[in-house]
């Protein structure tokens, strides 16, 4: 009997030593992902969620100082729902946020997170309103002004057109933001905006907007809008035989995954994005391969931004020396300081951040060929 007890004690000792060794290693970071998993913008939220999960799995498998636990919340691309999703995530013990995916909810959540001192890194909400007057919100993607101005420069530099039409959603902060900087930059680089028309979220008919662009002789139509109305515009343009170059921004990403949409209509559509799935660096290829294996799809820019975002958060946590179980409000200021110091090389390029939360990296354009995104610069 004594022997058995001794054996049991010895075993317990062994186990506890093992357990102790394990506990010393990984600190779990609880990162909340908030984005539209359902609703009109679901393609984006699903992509950012998947990108973040792949990054988390890789980090956990690599077995570094931190383990990452993703808390997924759905905001349906709605400001009120987003704040509720944020509250749910915070109740579940989130320490920082990768999100929110889209601009309007991000502004709403950002305001609450600023008050409560929670650090947010949005993968893809690109309006300057997202970071304005809030020291706790950072972006992985370009800001809208950067996208608008960069698009104008890109079009001029590559001589894609001189006469340009713009169709934008004047009920949407994202779309309007890009339009404004585009229209300011265009004359400087020698582009002539011949037609500017708008629509709102409820618009069903785009014939006037497309016809106006056609009648004013536009060679290129700039679409700083999301992919759902963009698909309607492509269909309308095709039905009246109007074939300009269509140039979109990151919101265009997703146009190939609309069920039932004739993707041949999207052939030749260009979009400005820092991520191209056919890039040849090792990081991108690995990420694309994992994504394809798990979800049977080629990852878009949103997935890539979220993937890089999780790596950036972990890098910042490491720099800020986040300890096990620290609360969101206690680490917020340290993370902010760390974000300005780190340099992260991910699948969307090498990124550094300025104090206002904006990222610095280089944009490239991709073109849709045979139903896939292909780098345009090659």
């Amino acid at each position: 009997m004594k022997k058995i007890i001794a054996l049991a004690l010895a075993l317990t000792l062994c186990l506890s030593v093992l357990a102790f060794a394990g506990a010393e290693e990984a600190i779990t970071l609880k990162i909340a992902h908030i984005g539209p998993l359902t609703g009109a913008a679901a393609v984006y939220g699903t992509a950012t969620s998947r990108g973040a999960r792949i990054a988390a799995d890789e980090i956990n498998a690599a077995g570094g100082k931190y383990k990452v636990e993703i808390i997924d919340e759905d905001d349906t691309h709605d400001a009120e729902t987003a704040v509720n999703a944020y509250n749910t995530a915070m109740d579940a013990g989130a320490q920082m946020i990768i999100g929110t995916t889209t601009t309007t909810p991000c502004i709403a959540v950002g305001a609450v997170a600023y008050e409560e001192r929670v650090f947010m890194l949005t993968p893809s909400a690109s309006s300057t309103a997202v970071t304005a007057d809030k020291d706790n919100v950072y972006q992985v993607c370009f800001t809208d002004p950067a996208q608008g101005a960069a698009s104008a420069e890109y079009i001029a530099e590559h001589k894609l057109a001189t006469k340009v039409a713009v169709i934008y959603n004047n009920a949407d902060a994202y779309s309007t933001g890009i339009y404004q900087t585009f229209s300011e930059k265009a004359p400087e680089v020698g582009l002539e905006i011949v037609s500017t028309t708008t629509f709102t979220d409820d618009t069903t008919d785009f014939s006037v907007q497309v016809a106006d662009a056609q009648n004013k002789g536009a060679e290129l139509v700039f679409l700083p809008i999301y992919y759902t109305p963009a698909s309607q515009i492509l269909i309308t343009a095709n039905s009246i035989g109007f074939k300009p170059v269509f140039f979109g921004v990151d919101g265009m990403d997703g146009i190939l995954s609309i069920e039932g949409f004739d993707t041949t209509l999207a052939e030749g559509v260009m979009l400005l994005t820092p991520f191209s799935a056919d890039a040849e660096d090792e990081k991108t290829q690995k990420f694309v391969a994992t994504y394809k294996e798990l979800y049977d799809e080629i990852p878009n820019q949103f997935a890539a931004d979220a993937y890089d975002g999780v790596y950036a958060l972990v890098a910042a946590a490491e720099k800020a020396d986040v300890k096990d179980g620290e609360k969101a409000e206690d680490i917020c200021d340290r993370i902010i300081a760390a974000m300005q110091e780190i340099e992260v090389t991910g699948v969307t390029g090498t990124m550094t951040w300025s104090a206002n939360g904006e990222v610095t990296k280089t944009p490239t354009a991709v073109i849709i060929e045979n139903g896939a995104y292909v780098g345009f610069n090659k």
């Binding site: 609703g39 009109a40 679901a42 069903t204 106006d212 759902t228 698909s231 309607q232 069920e259 004739d262």
Partner: protein, 295 residues
């Protein structure tokens, strides 16, 4: 030529509003209630047709029939479950029930078909090539032609049905005086059910035409066109069948011309401003019958 092309686009949009407005006006004219869920029955019709074409591989005619049958069943069910128990309630209660029904349908669609937008296979549904006039400067799509044709046929059939058949006569009686009709031995509930059945079958046709012309299909697809069509029905004189058609087409033309020549930003504002002006001068709409209050 640009004007003509805008006019054609306006008529195309208007004829779709008109078909939706016919459903509104039928139900209002006879059951004296505003069925705000009509726009969402349209959405269901479009989804059913989408499934029939994409998943079940049915030909367009069969897809149309399946959508019409399912929408008819849906319409009768909604009427029986939600509106019939409220027959004696105030019109406000019925109105709010209809709005609730509208949200219920939208959220059910969200549950069944998901949130990602689908693109309606318009070319499969209506395989009629576009007609190009004046060397391609004026294009009239097959959907436009079908929509206008469908409007005329539906209007003629409905008018004949209401003035010639026994059920049509019963509908007019119920519309005029529900109590007296009941005393004369007319089954009011059955008559109103029949009205909903016709209105919902029309909604299926409207949904298919709407999504053939503007292919994005989402759970909220029916709501804005529904409201615009309701406006069209009021504009033309709610309860009047030719009024719904004229109102719908005028509304579409005003919307497109307003966007083309005044401002795309003000498109919807112009539409609703016109409605207000018309109602100020003709409170019963363009073809509505003025009703004198007897003292």
């Amino acid at each position: 030529m640009i004007f003509l092309s805008n006019l054609v686009n306006g008529i195309s949009l208007g004829s779709i509003y008109a078909i939706i407005a016919l459903g509104y006006t039928m139900v209002y004219g006879i059951a004296k209630m505003l069925n705000f869920a009509h726009g969402d029955v349209i959405m269901v019709g479009a989804y059913v047709a989408f499934c029939a074409l994409q998943y079940w591989g049915l030909p367009p005619i069969a897809a149309l029939l399946v959508a019409m049958v399912l929408c008819t069943v849906l319409g009768i069910t909604i009427e029986g479950l939600a509106y019939r128990p409220l027959r004696q309630a105030t019109s406000l209660a019925v109105l709010i029930t209809a709005i609730g029904m509208s949200y219920l349908l939208q959220n059910l669609a969200l549950l069944i078909w998901g949130a990602n937008p689908k693109s309606f296979p318009a070319a499969v549904m209506i395989p009629i090539p576009m007609i190009s006039l004046f060397g391609g400067r004026l294009n009239i799509s097959g959907v436009t032609l079908i929509a206008i044709l469908a409007n005329l046929v539906i209007m003629a059939v409905l008018t004949a049905f209401i003035s010639r058949t026994k059920l049509g006569k019963a509908m007019r009686c119920v519309s005029e005086d529900r109590g007296a009709a009941e005393l004369m031995g007319i089954n009011v509930n059955r008559t109103i059910s029949a009205t909903f059945a016709i209105g919902s079958a029309l909604a299926a046709v409207a949904g298919i035409l709407l999504c053939s012309a503007y292919p994005t299909l989402m759970p909220t697809t029916g709501s804005m066109p529904g409201i615009k069509a309701f406006t069209a029905a009021v504009f033309g004189g709610i309860g009047s069948i030719p009024g719904a058609m004229i109102g719908g087409i005028l509304l579409g033309v005003i919307e497109i011309l307003g966007k083309a020549y005044i401002s795309t930003e003000l498109g919807d504002a112009i539409v609703f401003a016109v409605l207000i002006i018309v109602l100020l001068f003709r409170p019963t709409g363009l073809l509505g019958r003025p009703v004198r209050e007897k003292v």
